[in-house]
Subunit: 157 residues, 2 copies
């Protein structure tokens, strides 16, 4: 594996110690974005049509859960990943859609580091297990998840 | 909760028994779609730039894992959800991005029912725990996940 040049990034695996909490900013969800995402990827009636949404468990038109995941990913990229020697992720656990995200909502996210270790098979790659919390303008959690990220270990020269 | 009219849908909770396997069709991933999704939601260099991708663990430009989730959601909608009295999902577990999805790949998906029960608190809502397997044109699994879906129980009249 070739590592990215160590001069190019600000944060490496060592910069994500257990207990670190990083606020990830916020984004406001427009009706147009909700409809565009749902139309492309999740065309269930309650994500596309007001009347169907009112008759659903969500009561109002709401964003696809995958749209919330994708918006959260953008907050992660802008908040720390694109300043980091990030190498991808093997996956996510305990993804929970706790409350609907409605057009006009402003969602914010926060990342907390739960666990950290260097890979046995690749000592230049560190794993970071994090929890992400996504909450709306009323402070109510709308989504949570946990997952592993891979980061380059800082090269000692 | 108001249920959708029972005449409107073909499949209800009873139609997803444990052991059922549903093939969900396939979709071909274009370079334009990979770049558009990544530009909007996951602007990490290895999802946007060929040189950065070559230097990464993925070796070539690859789709955001959330793009793969979203494309899979579309296969689910077209494959069974939009013919079903589907009421949403509380979440997903063990989402694993096993291999990169590259532009030009054709991904297919398959849903298997693992567990099924009626909600204690809402006897007109049934829960179905499923496993989704997403694989490429070479038969290699690129993503797997498990999750619960909610479906209306067929109304006995």
């Amino acid at each position: 594996m070739e590592l990215p040049p160590s001069s190019a990034k600000r944060y490496y695996w060592e910069d994500f110690p257990v207990g670190l909490v990083i606020p990830l900013g916020s984004t406001t969800v427009t009706r147009e974005a909700v409809l565009a995402f749902a139309g492309q990827f999740d065309p269930q009636p309650f994500h596309l049509d007001d009347a169907a949404a009112e008759a659903s468990l969500f009561k109002k038109l709401s964003a696809s859960g995958w749209h919330t995941c994708s918006m959260t990913m953008r907050l992660m990229c802008d908040g720390y990943l694109n300043d980091s020697a990030a190498l991808g992720s093997p996956g996510v656990d305990e993804l929970r859609w706790l409350k609907p995200v409605y057009p006009g909502d402003t969602i914010s996210a926060e990342m907390s580091v739960l666990e950290s270790r260097v890979m046995n098979s690749k000592p230049h790659v560190g794993l970071v297990r994090s929890r992400w919390r996504v909450f709306n303008q009323d402070g109510a959690d709308v989504m949570t998840m946990q997952g592993w990220g891979m980061f380059a270990v800082r090269q000692r020269t």
